[in-house]
């Protein structure tokens, strides 16, 4: 049997070192009271000086407090007595408080009569406060030992009455008793505490007084008036505990004693059952396993369904471990639906939209019996199926801004299909219809958009958002009259709907343009008149005026020409004026160049800064409306724009200009502006990006020169160093796009260096079609041809040499041999291509296979 190891005494543990007054004092300062006591004792034996005795007294005092703090009251008292035995030492309140706590009233009353205490009013008041608290607490022998006129005895009756009245809930009697206690009373701290406690009771509170936070603040203020050396400090501490918010209360409550907890339970309205349950709760950190066990133990009180449903949430994120807890805690095996839901929750934590979509599809299919039966529309199950099918779009906003593409298995296509399926079980969700209409409209898939609209209109024929969607579909289909009619319906419901008004004007203007292109200026004029009825704002008025003038010139009326001249004058006859005229003319099918000649605007302008700004404002507005810049307009304005690159503009403005030119596809002016910026801000990554993109627009990736690539990589490094994550992302995308048939461009030490942390998971690189073309080339050339190509100048030779440098001669030879031997071009043929580029969308069958099936395996444990 193991024997309890006895701790050696401090004397035995102390290293053999010379004790000095300094070392003892150091121990005292550092809170090493046992060492300090031993040190001072040793010193006193040889040299009984007062200063050493005082040091020993301080060490006893410190140790006494230390022991009392640990609840070792008797041991603490021994220290106080040792201190007192040293001779004339100032009395300490803590000593008296400890005596009282141990029920030793006599020595405290003796202290009260000592001249040193009588001469120290603060100490006297403190002692009286402790005696008052003990008297009220029922410690025997105090009242009898005190003189009849001592305030503790005199005011004790009122204090006791106040305490009783508070506990009985008699607030009137409480107020009266508190009034009877004078300000300079040993019970004054009790007055503050009882006032604070009664503030906390909603029954005693004035309904017009503040809310819970405010009341707690007031109570805390009253409690703060009670000092730490007060005899009522314990009561104050317990009262303070009851003010804590719920989240902070639980851990602090464990530190409190039974009386403190009882006070909190009462003040917070805790029942006995609640207190008992709290006692069973796992400790700090609320460990899920213990909480689950507790919930299952108390499932009857919690409700079977509630415990099970909330318990499921405790199994995440570690489903494997959760599976064991669930069964160990006595949980009944999970149903297939619960497992599907856990799987879906886990997928959401992973953040892969494909996996999320499949997981919720699985859940919905399971709920609808693998699609064989639909629960009745409007039932909870039907709504759950619909919600599950909408979840991926809700989380990842796939439909917002997505455009349907040719791949019917793309994520947007799958999400759109899920959304449509959701309408079968929950046809009352208007946002889903609108989202789908917007999605189909973006791809001009009018047939699909109309199909969804028809379903929506059957439910909400006069609803504003549905009417607006109908108008958008009509506009997209060129049905201007119909669009105008719908817009009127919308404005009848909502007269200040300015977006609809603008759409209606746009519709009339588009109609007018169409008529002009069809050489029907009369009808165009009529459409313009209709537009005028709804026009608001100067910009639209200007466009209308331009169109009227164009209609006028088309009809051969001299006023039209005059109007155009006047408009050109008003617009400034600069670059901005030319853009406005050319855009409207193009829309109306009027050739731009002759128009400019007729208006004496054929000579390219030399724009100043104001004109340039006006030009870009117009261009941005045009692009923001979703329109493109017609190439002939770009050609017309490209040269003057390039010349404008010499103008001194600030950096932000130049960035914005380069970006707008990118959107407009004006690469030559963009290159001019980016180069001009690089002359002023050498190596600035954003302008390096624009320069590169503008210079290599339409250039095959393998034809891009190494110096340009290196500049781009330096720009990437700078952007990274500057913490410009958006630009870093763009540069990575650009570099990945340049990866040729060999995966990432092999560029020595930087190979693979532009991996994107966001896309770290994607490891597959090259397009299989390009790879196959490359393999064909190798098969055509044969091994000798490949060797010849390696010596040839030109981009293909450069690319092959770069690959050889990156992967080594031997690997390249093996790869070529493998291709020539008839192996398929796949990952096994090619060397490791590093972690570059987004993972391409795998085929549907593979997507299922590549899903992480760990969760499924983990969940098998539940069964």
């Amino acid at each position: 049997m193991a024997r309890k190891h006895k701790r050696p005494s401090i004397k035995a543990r102390a290293p053999a070192r010379a004790v000095t007054a300094e070392s003892a004092r150091d121990d005292l300062q550092a809170g090493r009271f046992r060492e300090a006591i031993a040190g001072f004792k040793a010193l006193l034996r040889e040299d009984p000086r007062d200063v050493l005795r005082e040091g020993l007294a301080d060490a006893y005092e410190g140790r006494a407090r230390q022991l009392a703090g640990k609840g070792m009251l008797k041991e603490a008292l021994v220290m106080w007595e040792n201190r007192a035995a040293l001779g004339e030492m100032p009395r300490r309140l803590d000593h008296a408080a400890l005596l009282l706590r141990l029920g030793r009233v006599g020595p405290v009353l003796e202290m009260l009569g000592e001249p040193s205490v009588a001469g120290d009013p603060a100490l006297g008041a403190g002692l009286a406060s402790h005696l008052a608290a003990q008297l009220l607490g029922g410690t025997p022998g105090i009242a009898e030992a005190l003189p009849a006129d001592h305030p503790v005895r005199v005011q004790g009756a009122a204090a006791e009455e106040a305490l009783g009245a508070y506990c009985a809930g008699n607030d009137q009697a409480l107020a009266q008793a508190l009034r009877a206690i004078p300000f300079r009373s040993p019970y004054r701290d009790l007055v503050q505490i009882l006032r604070a406690l009664s503030r906390l009771d909603p029954a005693a509170r004035d309904p017009a007084s503040g809310g819970a936070d405010e009341v707690r603040g007031e109570a805390a203020g009253l409690l703060d008036r009670v000092g730490d050396d007060s005899g009522f400090a314990h009561l104050r501490d317990a009262a303070r505990l009851s003010l804590l918010p719920e989240a902070e209360l639980a851990p602090r409550l464990r530190e409190a004693g039974p009386a403190g907890r009882d006070l909190v339970f009462a003040l917070r309205g805790w029942s006995v059952e609640r207190a008992a349950l709290w006692n069973e709760l796992p400790g700090p950190g609320e460990r899920p396993r213990e909480l689950l066990c507790l919930m299952f133990r108390h499932r009857r009180a919690l409700g079977e369904d509630w415990a099970r449903e909330r318990g499921l949430r405790l199994l995440l994120p570690n489903l494997g471990a959760g599976a064991r807890w669930w069964l160990e805690a006595g949980g009944k095996p999970l149903t297939d639906l619960e497992i599907a839901r856990l799987n879906a929750w886990q997928s959401e934590a992973e953040g892969n939209p494909w996996r999320v979509a499949y997981a919720w599809q699985d859940y919905a299919n399971l709920l609808s019996g693998a699609g064989q039966r639909h629960p009745p529309t409007g039932s909870d199950a039907a709504l759950r199926i619909a919600l599950a099918r909408r979840r991926t779009d809700h989380l990842f906003e796939v439909m917002q801004g997505s455009t349907p593409d040719a791949d019917p298995e793309s994520l947007p296509a799958m999400v759109a299909a899920d959304l449509e399926a959701s309408l079968e079980t929950d046809p009352d969700d208007r946002p889903t219809y609108l989202s789908l209409i917007g999605y189909y409209l973006r791809a001009n898939a009018l047939k699909d958009a109309r199909r969804i609209l028809k379903l929506a209109q059957a439910r909400w024929p006069t609803e504003k958002a549905v009417l607006t969607a109908a108008m958008d579909i009509a506009l997209a289909g060129g049905a201007f009259k119909k669009a105008a009619s719908i817009a009127r319906d919308v404005l009848a419901v909502d007269p200040i709907n300015s977006p609809v008004r603008e759409r209606l004007v746009d519709a009339h203007l588009a109609h007018a343009r169409k008529n002009l292109r069809d050489r029907r200026p009369d009808l165009a004029e009529r459409a313009l008149n209709q537009a005028e009825e709804w026009v608001r704002g100067e910009v639209t008025r200007e466009r209308l005026a331009l169109m009227r003038a164009l209609v006028g010139t088309h009809a051969g009326a001299p006023e039209g020409e005059e109007r155009l001249h006047a408009l050109a004058d008003r617009l400034g006859r600069g670059l901005a004026a030319r853009l406005a005229l050319l855009l409207e003319a193009d829309g109306c099918g009027v050739p731009g160049r002759p128009l400019l000649e007729r208006l004496d605007l054929a000579k390219p302008p030399a724009p100043d800064v104001a004109d340039l700004r006006a030009f870009f404002t117009r261009l941005r507005a045009h692009l923001d409306a979703g329109a493109k810049l017609p190439p002939q307009i770009g050609r017309e304005l490209g040269e003057p724009l390039k010349r404008a690159a010499r103008l001194k503009l600030d950096r932000g403005e130049l960035e914005s200009i380069c970006e707008t030119l990118r959107r407009a596809g004006l690469h030559a002016p963009r290159l001019a502006f980016a180069n001009a910026a690089l002359k002023r801000w050498r190596g600035e990554p954003v302008f390096e990006l624009h320069t590169f993109e503008a210079r290599h627009d339409g250039v095959a990736p393998w034809a891009v020169g190494m110096p340009d690539l290196l500049r781009l990589e330096k720009a990437l490094e700078r952007a990274r160093a500057a913490g410009d994550s958006r630009l870093v992302h763009r540069l990575i995308e650009l570099l990945n796009g340049l990866a040729g048939p060999f995966g990432p461009s092999p560029r020595g030490p930087l190979r693979g260096g532009f991996s994107d942390p966001i896309r770290e998971r994607g490891t597959e690189g090259a397009d299989p079609a390009i790879l196959e073309q490359f393999a064909d080339l190798i098969r055509t050339l044969g091994p000798g041809g490949v060797q010849d190509l390696l010596r040839e100048p030109g981009p293909l030779g450069d690319a092959l040499r770069g690959l050889e440098r990156a992967i080594g001669k031997r690997t390249l030879r093996e790869m070529v041999d493998a291709i020539l031997a008839g192996h398929a071009v796949d990952d096994r043929t090619l060397p490791d291509r590093g972690r570059i580029g987004p993972k391409p969308t795998p085929p549907r069958s593979r997507r299922r296979e590549t899903q992480d099936d760990d969760a499924d395996r983990q969940l098998d444990l539940f069964k």
């Binding site: 607490g137 609320e286 919930m295």
Partner: protein, 97 residues
């Protein structure tokens, strides 16, 4: 506490009207200018349970694990605060924390 039904003080099968009236009563007791934290919690709970669709979505998608406070409130809800016993106060006055 995370459970919106417990925050609002309504059973998990409460309907729209019961939830709305519980919410209105609760924010009446804890208006934002007096108790902003409580008001925020109430509003959040109400948004999660306002309609049947919201409630079903919350049941389906909410993954927030229950807390000890949820368990306490569910099994033994808070009652009205009461006055402590004189015995408790006497023990505290004697220094028995």
């Amino acid at each position: 506490m995370n459970d919106p039904y417990l925050i609002l003080g309504v059973p998990p099968d409460a309907e729209d009207a019961a939830i709305e009236s519980a919410y209105l009563a609760a924010i009446g007791r804890s208006p934002p200018e007096r108790d902003p934290a409580r008001f925020e919690a109430l509003r959040d709970a109400y948004e999660k349970t306002r309609t049947r669709r919201d409630r079903l979505a919350h049941a389906l998608f909410d993954q927030i694990p229950p807390t000890a406070a949820d368990v306490l409130c569910r099994a033994a809800p808070l009652g009205e605060p009461r006055r402590p016993s004189q015995r408790t106060l006497a023990a505290l006055l004697r220094g028995e924390a």
